[in-house]
């Protein structure tokens, strides 16, 4: 070639090499930045890719009754998971899952997490389909998660409560975060003891591929934190007593039964009827059933024992009796203004259950026969302030502080002011209040505590479901003599000739109690019975209410009897076991 041309080419080549050199310099600079300057950041991101932190959910603590019977435990539930890719890939995988299982699947909103649950708590058929037919071709997987199970079902639903799904991942408590979809205690003990039941989640470092499939379970044996399971909850409740109380309730009527250890306030049974199966709240497919429960007009979700407000009727008369005795209005033996079957106070005529009148009565007889007029006379002398004072001392209108629901209903113990704010004060109101009517409202739990205090020598206990009993508090301003009189009166309710609570008698056990037939908002009267037993050294205190149940002596007393009987049967059994066990040990069993 012409030397001039060669010279021209050589010159142009230098130009092109400079250009190429510049382009390569850009690449090299960028590579230097990636691989030298910021390599550590990328090394970290790379590790985040293939070393996945898998949360190991701590097993939730069990809930057990006082005999060790399980009320809440955990079962294995299978979820189908999707490891996300592009929107198109996600849609295709979901479509494959839908066509293979024949069920529709919904993918939630797109977050940053790579693995999402598509379906929770699926049937084993679905697990098999995913495992055998879909897993290799699609980014789908199976995860096993612990799910709550309530073996006793509806029996203790209101005590245990239930759990619900966490909707966002922002909340955390005591440095322990919740993830979206975690089940968290919503009501009852599951809520109150959430922090001790849930335990501490652990973390595993596992080697995963891009589809989040685990390649190596333990790439770093020394890293990772094992989960610490939640503390078991040992309840004071006895399921045998709970069962007896539930069975004794009429199926068709709502109501509640509360049985306390009269000495320390341990809850032995707490029934709210009708009940519900808490398993529907931890079962992923039961949305319709949950909706039905929440909207049910019979309100099965309401824990009537602590949220139900009822007029207590005649079961409240012991407040009037105690107040009258302490204020010297009467004593045991004095007979008091004859009951002529009715009494006019102001413009209103108050009537006794016995229209012909009980005639002349002393306090014991008045309680035994539940004479309204006798108590009206007492109240007229006593006055609202003294009566209210004693009502308050027995805990009415005040929370019981049970460890079940911080927002328990406090009930209403009206005073003069309360009436003034509504319809003005007249003495007639007191005539209603002293027989447990008017604006007076109580919870069954308050009634159980009240009757326990009457039985145990004047100690107000704190009802509790687990743990050490809070110390009972001696109610001030009540002498033993007063209590003795009231206790004897309650004994006569069950065993007296004219006693209204004869149906509460339990063979072999002395029972004391008081019936009540309260006029509430319902067409039929609420049936009440409160009782303690044994008479001499009370161990159990019971309060029963049946909404629209009619006469308390005829309809509520038998339920109290069933509960007391179940308690003593259970005690006998326990003593038999305790007597046996030393022998068993000796024989090496």
């Amino acid at each position: 070639m012409d030397p001039e041309v060669l010279e021209d080419w050589a010159r142009k080549m230098r130009g092109l090499m400079v250009l190429a050199g510049l382009l390569f310099a850009i690449l090299l600079l960028r590579l230097f930045h990636l691989q030298i300057t910021t390599a550590d950041n990328y090394a970290k991101e790379s590790e985040d890719n293939w070393i996945a932190q898998k949360r190991r959910k701590a097993p939730r603590g069990l809930v057990l009754d006082r005999d060790g019977e399980v009320l809440a435990r955990n079962r294995a539930a299978y979820s189908i998971q999707l490891t996300r890719g592009s929107r198109e890939d996600d849609a295709k995988a979901i479509e494959a899952l839908e066509s293979a299982t024949g069920e529709s699947v919904r993918l939630g909103k797109r977050g940053r997490e790579r693995t999402v649950r598509l379906k929770r708590d699926v049937k084993f058929r679905t697990v098999a389909i995913v495992e055998e037919r879909l897993r290799d071709e699609w980014p789908l997987g199976i995860a096993i998660e612990p799910q709550r199970l309530y073996p006793a079902g509806a029996l203790a639903a209101h005590i245990i409560g239930y759990m619900g799904e966490q909707q966002d991942d922002l909340t955390s408590h005591q440095g322990r975060p919740y993830a979206v979809g975690d089940y968290v205690g919503q009501t009852g003990l599951e809520r109150v003891y959430e922090d001790s039941l849930r335990g501490w989640d652990g973390v595993d470092y596992v080697e995963v591929d891009v589809r989040d499939r685990v390649i190596n379970e333990h790439p770093f044996p020394d890293r990772g934190v094992p989960p610490r399971s939640g503390r078991d909850l040992h309840l004071t409740v006895d399921l045998d007593i709970q069962r007896a109380a539930t069975n004794a309730m009429p199926d068709s009527l709502a109501g509640s039964v509360v049985a306390l250890d009269a000495r320390d306030g341990a809850v032995l049974a707490m029934v709210s009827h009708p009940s519900y199966d808490p398993n529907v709240f931890v079962s992923y497919g039961s949305q319709a059933e949950r909706q039905r429960l929440i909207q049910d007009p019979a309100k099965p979700m309401l824990n009537r024992a602590i949220q139900g407000g009822y007029p207590p009727g005649s079961t409240l008369k012991m407040i009037g009796a105690v107040a009258a005795l302490e204020n010297g209005v009467t004593d045991t033996l004095s007979t008091f203004a004859a009951c002529a079957g009715s009494l006019q106070v102001g413009d209103v005529v108050f009537r006794c259950a016995n229209r012909d009148g009980h005639g002349e009565l002393n306090l014991l007889e008045a309680v035994e026969t539940s004479c309204n007029i006798y108590f009206n006379h007492l109240a007229k002398i006593l006055g609202i302030e003294a009566w209210h004072d004693y009502g308050s001392r027995f805990g009415f209108g005040l929370p019981t502080h049970i460890d079940l629901d911080p927002s328990e209903f406090h009930g209403i113990l009206p005073d003069r002011q309360y009436h003034r704010e509504r319809d003005g004060w007249v003495t007639g109101h007191l005539m209603n209040l002293v027989i447990g009517q008017g604006y007076m409202l109580v919870t069954p739990l308050q009634m159980a505590r009240y009757v326990a205090a009457l039985g145990n020598g004047g100690y107000l206990v704190t009802p509790h479901l687990q743990g050490k009993a809070p110390d009972p508090v001696r109610i001030e301003g009540i002498t033993d003599a007063t209590l003795d009189i009231v206790r004897r009166a309650m004994y006569r309710v069950v065993y007296g000739e004219h006693g209204t609570g004869k149906r509460a008698q339990v063979p072999g056990i002395e029972v004391a109690g008081k019936s009540g037939t309260a006029q509430g908002s319902r067409a039929d009267d609420d049936a009440w019975f409160v009782a303690f037993a044994p008479f001499e050294e009370p161990e159990i205190a019971v309060a029963v209410v049946v909404e629209g149940g009619g006469g308390g002596g005829s309809n509520a007393a038998p339920i109290a009897r069933a509960v007391i009987k179940a308690y003593f049967d259970d005690q006998a059994q326990r003593q038999a076991v305790a007597a046996d066990s030393p022998n068993n040990k000796r024989r090496g069993i």
Binding site: M1, L6, W9, A10, K12, M13, G15, L16, M17, A20, G21, L23, F24, I26, L27, L28, R30, L31, F32, L34, Q35, I36, T38, A39, N41, Y42, A43, E45, S46, E47, N49, W50, R84, G85, S86, R87, R112, R114, E207, V208, D209, V210, R211, I215
Partner: protein
């Protein structure tokens, strides 16, 4: 007559190919893809050496017929093509990607056309328009597949060839200025600064043209061309591009905007390369690669595998080897025995440089994801054969440089 062999280029190519097969083995371990690649490699190297023995004038004679055949096969791809997107032709057992071979054929045709013109004529508009037309025909057919990266590569080879053939740099600037207008007016690139950036470019370029040429008519014409190119770009972006096309471009600009979707490739590639650090994680030890985080590891993103497993040392080695090959190709262009051969060498060198820059640039996030393979290293028979044939042509030019 004794034929001299450019051993350095042949050895560089062989090293690159052997390295490529090794990295494919790591990138697609367990798939046996490396065996296929090794087989292609053997065939391709033999083909490259065979090209040396083709009679000297034959390529010149065949340039236009080959170009015609390639155009027809590109049309055939549009009609009977297979794959998604359709880029392949299946003839019996053989599956070919005509766009790969069209690169060489087009460069040959342009080399012949420009080689037949004198340097003076190349300065004129007629020759330039015809040369551009030669490139635009296959470009359009490939873009239609669609394969934007390969389509652009035709243009990338053309510009240095025009320069080599005698076109004045200022005229090349005239030719490429509208493209720069597109870039500078592209809104996603400059955010809301786009009008300012574009205005600056228009003013500066016009002032330079005016100062160099001092001809107001030319300056005003270029001003009009550049302005309309910028405005059309803005209009098309707002009204014409489909959602996924916009998404692709936006993801290139900001991969984090869709980390699990379009941005995934770029992010994972950068993590692979960055996490390789100075010396890499070791051969077969790349976690991005072996656990599937890096997509298309043995094809488009083979460079990321090198970066992850061999580190900065590995990437610098590969780029140095490529730069050496590019230099060697250009050098052969300066010692060729005729204009056609010289232009052919420059075209092939440019094509190689463009592929390396775009592919490597893609893996480190300085270029968009286009799907251009990395020459000699990416898995794929057609690409390997094409690149070997290109080197074969250069060896041929070297061997025949003393013949007239």
């Amino acid at each position: 007559m004794r034929r001299e062999l450019d051993l350095s280029l042949l050895v560089a190519m062989a090293m690159m190919i052997a390295f490529g097969v090794t990295m494919v083995y790591s990138a697609a371990s367990g798939s046996g893809a490396w065996r296929g690649q090794a087989f292609y490699a053997l065939f391709a190297i033999i083909a490259a050496v065979a090209v040396i023995y083709v009679p000297d004038k034959l390529f010149y004679e065949l340039a236009y017929p080959l170009y015609g055949i390639c155009l027809l096969s590109l049309v055939a791809v549009l009609v009977w093509g297979t794959g998604t997107p359709a880029r392949w032709l299946s003839i019996g057992l053989v599956r070919l990607q005509p766009s790969e071979f069209a690169k060489i054929a087009t460069i040959m045709a342009i080399a012949r056309f420009l080689g037949d013109q004198s340097s003076e004529r190349v300065s004129g508009p007629r020759a330039v328009v015809l040369a551009v037309l030669l490139a635009v025909l296959p470009m359009g057919l490939v873009a239609k597949q669609p394969d934007l990266g390969t389509a652009v590569s035709f243009g990338a080879a053309l510009v240095p060839m025009l320069y080599w053939a005698g076109m004045r740099p200022l005229h090349i600037f005239f030719l490429t200025a509208p493209l720069l207008s597109v870039v500078f007016s592209f809104e996603p690139l400059w955010q809301n600064q786009a009008p300012i950036v574009f205005a600056l470019f228009i003013i500066v370029s016009s002032v330079i043209i005016q100062l160099l040429l001092a001809r107001l008519s030319v300056t005003l014409t270029m001003l009009g061309v550049n302005l309309s190119a910028g405005l059309v770009t803005t209009y098309l972006w707002a009204n014409f591009l489909r959602g996924y096309q916009k998404a692709r471009i936006l993801t290139f600009l900001d991969p984090e905007s869709d980390p699990l979707g379009w941005g995934w490739n770029i992010i994972q590639s950068k993590i692979a390369i960055g996490s390789g650090g100075p010396t890499g994680k070791g051969f077969l030890q790349g976690t991005q690669t072996k656990y599937g985080f890096l997509p298309a590891a043995h094809t488009d993103f083979i460079f990321s595998v090198i970066g992850e497993e061999l580190g900065f040392v590995g990437t610098v080695f590969v780029l140095s080897l490529f730069l050496f090959m590019i230099w060697r190709c250009l050098y052969i262009g300066t010692i060729a025995n005729n204009r056609f051969a010289s232009l052919l060498a420059v075209g092939l060198a440019s094509m190689l440089a463009f592929h390396v820059f775009v592919n490597v640039g893609m893996t480190i996030g300085v270029m968009p994801v286009t799907g251009l393979p990395l020459p000699f290293l990416s898995y794929g028979g057609s690409s390997l054969l094409t690149n070997c044939l290109a080197i074969g042509l250069l060896l041929h030019i070297f061997a025949h440089r003393h013949e007239y």
